[in-house]
């Protein structure tokens, strides 16, 4: 089996199924299958679990680049689009549950919430920003946008920050969980900043390059970080 076949027939279906597990679990709770229950407030449970699953998938999407670079498995990129689209799927579910089950389709309250409640304003902004990314996720769109595709998809950094902030801001008092999300996001974004700096340095004149090389020798991780990434890999998943 070639790598492409393995991804097409094994890894991708497995990831697809795994991404549906949270939904399956919530469905079990909603319909009382296998003794599962959503507790006394099923609406809030559905709303929160879909939101958290969306955040989990968003962070997983952002983890693809560091993991593939550090583990020298560039092929992992083939899973990223699916993770990102599932994040969008759960964000849409989260919003739909909020609008239909929580607000009970009261559009006046929806408007007031978006305008007046900062945590809903930023959550809704993140949802809107995800739409162009989902729309331009096809191979055809990638080809059409060329270099601009990557620039556009850097929006995901903003979206992830807004998402974690949205979570942090709606918690009443116990902020430990949103802080864990913020910490993981910080590591994922920090990795990119460090990598960009290292690249800048390695592109600098010889003297500076020697210093960068020395620094890279000192830590094994920075060696891995400094490893040149195959050009164009990010825009070309196949």
């Amino acid at each position: 089996m070639t790598l492409t076949q393995r991804y097409r027939f094994i890894y991708k279906p497995l990831v697809f199924a795994a991404c549906l597990l949270p939904l399956a679990w919530l469905a079990c709770g909603a319909f009382g299958w296998f003794g599962a229950s959503l507790g006394a407030d099923p609406v809030k449970e559905l709303e929160h679990e879909c939101g958290k699953t969306a955040l989990n998938l968003l962070l997983l999407t952002l983890a693809v680049t560091p993991v593939r670079e550090l583990s020298a498995r560039p092929q992992l990129l083939r899973l990223r689009r699916m993770l990102g689209l599932f994040a969008f799927f759960y964000v849409l579910l989260h919003f739909t549950i909020y609008l239909v089950l929580d607000l009970e389709l009261n559009f006046a309250t929806l408007g007031a919430d978006i305008a007046k409640r900062p945590y809903i304003t930023i959550g809704f902004t993140a949802l809107l920003l995800l739409i162009p990314l989902a729309v331009t996720s096809t191979n055809a769109m990638m080809r059409r946008l060329g270099r601009r595709w990557q620039a556009l998809h850097r929006l995901v950094y903003v979206i992830a920050i807004l998402g974690v902030w949205h979570f942090y801001w709606q918690v009443k008092r116990d902020i430990r969980e949103p802080l864990i999300y913020a910490g993981i996001l910080g590591v994922l974004l920090g990795y990119r900043i460090v990598r960009a700096r290292m690249r800048q340095r390695s592109a600098a004149p010889a003297g500076a390059r020697a210093v960068a090389a020395r620094a890279a020798e000192l830590t094994s991780t920075s060696q891995a970080v400094a490893r040149p990434r195959p050009l164009g890999a990010a825009n070309n998943p196949q």
Binding site: A40, D41, V43, V100, R117, R173
Partner: protein, 315 residues
Amino acid sequence: MKVRVPRIAPSEITPQGVYFSRRALLAGALATGASSLLRAAEAPPAQGAPLSYTANAQYSVKEPPNKFEEIAGYNNFYEFGTDKDSPSRTAHALKPRPWSVKVYGESEVQGTFDLEDILKGVSLEERIYRFRCVEAWSMVVPWVGFPLSTLLARFKPTSRAKYVEFTTLYDPQQMPGQRVRVLTWPYAEGLRIDEAMHPLTLMVVGLYGRVLPNQDGAPLRLIVPWKYGFKGIKSIVKIGFTSTQPRTAWNVAAPDEYGFYANVNPQVDHPRWSQASERRIGAPFLAARRPTLPFNGYAEQVAGLYQGMDLRRYF
């Protein structure tokens, strides 16, 4: 006059059959133990021993009460964890007997009283109250208790007693949530003396005709039905009469979000969310959201307490 009550209450030696059936207690304890084993199977919360009480229709709303499983399975009781379902899973560590309450401050009668002494001579009544959480959800709860005023009157507050402050037990062994400083422990709450003496203000010892489950604030909790739920302090060990406004847990934690008064008010939003409507727990899908009523529907009885006050400022 200071009253000292002997440390060992007679009831600890001779159980008062009328109030407590030891057999039922034992069954309850066993059920609690079993439920912690069968957590995965979502065993329903254990039922307490039955109480004798009279139903007070005058002070009860006509709305259908929430199920026992909802009231005893969906709790904000941060002493047992911050998830709604953690109190029902971890509150079995609390020992609601023996229990004593310290009374102090601006009152003629002070001292430490055993719970049995506090309950001696009070007539328990069932009142079905609306319960509105500051998080914009609500329930209807059949509490069993007695008016706080009858208890406070026994301590003979002096003219300097302008406020009453209440304190929850502090014991991280029994209350594992206190190992995390989510709030300043022990939890404290307070009322103005006229609010405390209002006939609607209830000292609660039971739910659905039985001894209050630990996760709902056993053995003694406060219910002030026209205020947000966090005013209803649970597992009370101290009652003090003060001349100045007491510090209250949520107000200390976030003074711009939780006021001392915390009267249910659809006009005054929480800084981060609306208080104009609420979702009734247990109501059918798409029919759970309802408008929030001023003073949680008790305006007729209590609005007079706040005449001339700017309720936006004193939220």
